[in-house]
């Protein structure tokens, strides 16, 4: 079975170094190839060529966690402005409480 991409917020990054994760957050800043995404804390992301992030919008990022806890973006998806970030963060908590439904580690 293929591996899952666990949903994480900033606080979970250090448990997933070297693994692919999914982050849902708000684009706080874009500077060239780097972006800062707020997902219950700021996460710095190394963007790929295809990434089209819009400052202030929600974004879903799938990427690999580097040892310095930045995320190397493999795929990104603009989610627009209507994203409930509290809800997204709650979902992350729930997925970690019920790992049998959400991850195959």
């Amino acid at each position: 079975m293929e591996t899952s991409t666990p949903r994480v917020t900033c606080a979970y990054l250090n448990s997933y170094v070297g693994r692919n994760v999914m982050v849902v957050g708000k684009v706080a800043q874009i500077r060239g190839e780097d972006a800062i995404i707020d997902a219950d804390g700021n996460i710095s992301c190394k963007l790929n060529r295809d990434a089209h992030l819009v400052p202030g919008n929600g974004v879903q990022v799938i990427g690999k966690v580097n040892p310095d806890l930045s995320v190397k973006v493999l795929s990104s998806l603009d989610l627009g402005t209507g994203v409930d970030y509290n809800l997204a963060n709650t979902v992350v908590e729930i997925t970690h409480q019920h790992k049998n439904l959400f991850t195959n580690e």
């Binding site: 293929e2 209507g82 997204a88 049998n100």
Partner: protein, 284 residues
């Protein structure tokens, strides 16, 4: 008996003394003995793709269970990872990040497709899928009834929480009552009680064999159910129990007792003994 048998029986209002029995054998046994077939078709389960991969297919590949609970119709969300248009269907690989992809087959309506109604969804969009699980060569896929684009990302969050909620309710039970009836466990324990009547039981004092009792009075009013349960719990009712004793024992008012007794009489569940206000249960 097919799952429709019960409903047909209930349609015949006048079966004389058998009316009560006929009604129950349809609605009650239907909800118990055939629950595997009939209720599967009737409920929609929100699931994650991980749950589908963990689902167990039965020997004949017809019955698929999640959390030990038979599942047929599911709803799920995911991102489209690949699209394979074929002559009769479009196969999507859908991924929600919980562990691999699942094949979703959307059958092409040939009549519609002439006018170009079906356009495949583009890659990486979130979609909501509604369909039936089916197992083929040990691999489970979803035969989609309906696939649509998710515009609001919060629907994804919602779905993940709903899937978790349903999983927790099924594996641990509802806070207030015994909704989940795993095969054999709860269903075997209580005669013909459906979950609704079990909630009513816990509301009053006579919970003993109340579930079985409710099978006979399922179609009756709440008062009639209370009276019936009281009479079952009271040994005097074998020879007949008088209205005064019922009032004293159950706390019901006289008018309620008489109305309830009338109803039970009309349904052939009790009969009068020494006088018009003394009843005994008609044993079946």
């Amino acid at each position: 008996m097919t799952s429709y048998g019960g409903y047909q029986r209930t349609g015949y209002g006048a079966q004389g003394g058998d009316e009560g029995g006929g009604f129950m054998s349809g609605s009650q046994q239907g909800s118990q003995g055939q629950s595997k077939r009939s209720t599967i078709d009737e409920y929609l389960r929100p699931v994650t793709i991980k749950q589908i991969h963990d689902a167990k297919a039965g020997y004949n590949e017809s019955e698929i269970t999640i959390d030990g609970f038979p599942v047929s119709t599911v709803t799920l969300v995911g991102q489209v990872r690949s699209v394979q248009p074929q002559t009769t269907n479009i196969t999507y690989k859908i991924d929600d990040g919980t562990g691999g992809t699942i094949d979703v087959k959307k059958w092409v309506d040939l009549e519609k497709s002439e006018s170009g109604a079906e356009t495949p969804f583009s890659l990486d969009t979130w979609v909501r899928v509604l369909g039936r699980l089916s197992s083929f060569n040990g691999k489970i896929h979803v035969g989609a009834h309906h696939v649509r684009v998710i515009d609001d990302y919060n629907e994804v969050s919602y779905h993940l929480l709903e899937s978790t909620y349903v999983h927790v309710c099924i594996s641990r039970g509802l806070p207030g009552g015994p909704w989940p009836q795993k095969e054999g466990a709860a269903a075997g324990g209580h005669g013909g009680g459906d979950s609704d009547s079990m909630f009513i039981d816990s509301g009053n004092g006579y919970s003993g064999d109340a579930a079985a009792a409710n099978a006979r009075v399922a179609s009756c009013s709440r008062q009639a159910k209370s009276l019936y349960q009281f009479m079952q719990s009271d040994p005097r009712s074998i020879e007949g129990i008088n209205v005064a004793d019922v009032m004293a024992g159950s706390g019901m008012g006289k008018r309620d007792v008489l109305a309830a007794a009338d109803e039970l009489l009309g349904n052939g569940i009790v009969y009068t003994t020494v006088d018009d206000e003394t009843w005994a249960i008609l044993e079946t």
